[in-house]
């Protein structure tokens, strides 16, 4: 187990280096001058521009810039944003909010998605199954910003059930509605995955054996059907965490959440390279680590999988 985790961590290194190099080169090699963008429409005096370039290592060759950046990441020094704040401080402010948002979304989609998917899969072709399938298709097809506006308008303003915007303290209660919206698409995917997987496993030999040896229905469904059906679902949920944190760009904009999405979007528009690269680096790390957790969960769900 320890060896397995160690090996997997080592395998992550090339993907991590590749992804950071990719985003780094996209941000810094593609056309567009960050120093000019910083000043907007005003002209930059050459002296000031040169000083800024030196301060942010923009005058070094590209490879040196990248290596300096990597060295910074390893020492948790992510540089400073153009507004003068350390990027680490910006991240410390943005990530907890988005992490809470993603956690709400993930919980909602896991609990509701697996629950509804299980019920639909157990009675395939029934009324509940058909309804749920149509609803999930519609949820997948309607873009998240439309879901966001409608939810904000109907649930937040007309019915007044949940807070339509997020206040300055970014409390859990305020984040509930954006969390629901953020998780809605994935909820539909989880539901469909669970439903198909459960329906397939219901006809498996080991389930028939379990029923034949006299186990109660809840035990057959809970232990023998559901546990085996969860592998594709857990895989999806694991890769979804990274997507949720980055995909919050739209949701955070609608509900006025000051998290990763909003900060990142602003940074991209202002070509604030150091902030963009740092945020994406952390997002890639979240993605890779959640994939590792998923692989370890496989062993819990399927006793045939053991990691030496």
């Amino acid at each position: 187990m320890v060896w397995y985790v160690g090996r997997r961590l080592l395998q992550m290194v090339p993907v991590f280096l590749g992804a950071t190099l990719l985003i780094y080169s996209m941000v810094f090699l593609l056309p567009g001058d960050p120093v000019a963008a910083l000043f907007g429409d005003r002209a930059v005096s050459p002296g000031v521009a040169a000083r800024i370039r030196e301060q942010y290592n923009l005058d070094e060759p590209f490879v040196v810039q990248y290596l300096l950046y990597l060295k910074g990441v390893l020492t948790l020094d992510f540089g400073t944003s153009f507004s003068g704040r350390p990027v680490l401080e910006v991240m410390q402010q943005a990530f907890p909010v988005t992490a809470r948002l993603a956690l709400i979304a993930l919980t909602v989609e896991a609990v509701l998605g697996i629950g509804a998917g299980l019920l639909a899969g157990l009675r395939r072709g029934g009324v509940f199954d058909s309804t749920v399938l149509v609803v999930s298709l519609v949820v997948i097809a309607v873009p998240i910003f439309v879901i966001g506006f409608v939810a904000q308008f109907v649930i937040g303003l007309e019915l007044g059930l949940l807070s339509p915007t997020v206040g300055a303290d970014q409390s859990w209660g305020d984040l509930l509605l954006p969390g629901l919206v953020l998780g809605s698409t994935s909820f539909a995917y989880v539901l469909r995955l669970t439903r198909n997987s459960v329906a397939e496993n219901l006809t498996a030999d080991h389930v028939r054996t379990a029923t034949a040896k006299g186990l109660s229905r809840p035990r057959v469904v809970g232990v023998h059907v559901l546990r085996n059906s969860l592998i594709p679902v857990v895989t999806f949920l694991g890769t979804d965490l990274g997507t949720l944190m980055a995909g919050a760009i739209v949701t955070e904009g609608i509900f006025n959440v000051r998290g990763v999405g909003g900060t990142l979007y602003q940074a991209i528009i202002r070509t604030e390279g150091s902030t963009v690269v740092s945020f994406v680096t952390v997002l890639v790390m979240v993605y890779l680590l959640s994939n590792l957790v998923v692989d370890l969960l496989y062993a819990v769900l399927d006793p045939r999988i053991r990691y030496a």
């Binding site: 090339p14 993907v15 590749g18 992804a19 990719l22 985003i23 996209m26 941000v27 593609l30 056309p31 567009g32 298709l137 519609v138 997948i140 097809a141 309607v142 873009p143 998240i144 910003f145 439309v146 506006f149 308008f153 303003l157 990274g242 997507t243 980055a246 995909g247 760009i249 739209v250 904009g253 990142l264 979007y265 991209i268 528009i269 070509t271 963009v276 994406v280 997002l283 890639v284 993605y287 890779l288």
Partner: protein
């Protein structure tokens, strides 16, 4: 000498009776209707598809959407860009069924004319993704070894960066925002998914007898790959390409909504929805029409993909 007694052959009706050749003409036991045209997986799938209501509905919707995007003038005589501020947020009236948006533009005309941008981005992106991802996946799955190791790691790198995020970064640096550049931005981060599916499909047919036969007949590995492995691995790729076409259209709308996709000069659903959010509280219909058109388009492609998946799966067909 005493002849060893041989057991008498069983008579008809007895156990272990075997009739002679004359009694069992081959035509009766091994009948095959040779006049029937040979069917392949694709022909079977097509016959299966034609009867599915899911397929018929989605195919009709897609035909309609394509027709609208090719010839928008056939569906509306209004100009989407000739707007009269006096009509701002006015309700529908004769000739203007959906009413007017904040700028006084005819909403119906804008919905009709917005189809083209979405469909173009969807088609360009899907073609690009299938071309790039399919090539990488086929090479990785067929040749294996270090080629697979390198290509799969490269795909992992691009897969680790979320689609919307990566395309925003690309779009930020392009000077011209057209459906083609949006498509390129989406292809850059969209291809790994197709590559993974193509790789898996090629891997699973690589061990099949017809591949061995093709090699034994002396075909080069390139022609084995192109003529036998790839055509037999295309099924899952077609399914994912159809579904992704819808997803890419939704992603383009997201980018335009964020203001970094298509420019406001191009009529697009995403841009219109973004404009409509300002009048959401007074006139929600302005937002709902382009949003409805967008959702219906995405839904049609997802349903088509589902129908094709069911038709291509022989296991599902038997039931």
């Amino acid at each position: 000498m005493h002849e060893p007694s041989r057991p008498r052959p069983p008579l008809p009706g007895q156990e272990h009776f075997v009739a002679d050749v004359a009694g069992t003409p081959l035509q009766t036991t091994d009948r095959l209707d040779e006049s029937a045209p040979p069917t392949s997986l694709w022909v079977d799938a097509w016959h299966q598809l034609r009867r599915r209501p899911l397929f018929l509905v989605s195919a009709l919707l897609i035909l309609l959407i394509v027709a609208v995007s090719l010839f928008p003038q056939l569906f509306t005589s209004q100009e989407p860009r000739s707007c009269n501020l006096a009509d701002s947020l006015a309700a529908g009236r004769a000739g203007h069924p959906f009413g007017f948006d904040l700028q006084g533009c005819d909403v119906y005309a804008r919905v009709v004319h917005g189809a083209r941008a979405s469909v173009l981005v969807g088609i360009f992106t899907t073609l690009g993704v299938v071309l790039v991802g399919g090539t990488v996946g086929a090479l990785a799955g067929f040749y294996g070894g270090w080629i697979d190791a390198v290509l799969s790691r490269v795909a992992d790198v691009f897969f680790a960066i979320p689609l919307v995020l990566g395309s925003i970064v690309v779009m930020q640096s392009v000077s011209e925002r057209t459906p083609l550049t949006v498509a390129v931005a989406l292809v850059v981060f969209g291809w790994p998914q197709v590559a993974r599916i193509m790789r898996g499909a090629v891997l699973s047919v690589r061990q099949a007898e017809f591949i061995t036969a093709s090699r034994a007949l002396g075909a080069s590995s390139r022609s084995t790959l192109l003529r036998h492995a790839v055509p037999n691995a295309l099924g899952p790729v077609i399914v994912i390409a159809t579904i992704s076409l819808g997803i890419f259209i939704a992603t383009e709308a997201t980018l335009s909504f964020l203001g970094i996709g298509l420019p406001p000069t191009t009529v697009s659903w995403g841009g219109d929805i973004s404009q409509a959010q300002r009048s959401l509280r007074t006139q929600p219909a302005v937002l709902l029409y382009p949003a409805g058109a967008l959702s219906l388009t995405v839904l049609s492609f997802i349903m088509l993909g589902d129908a094709v998946r069911d038709a291509l799966d022989p296991k599902g067909r038997a039931r």
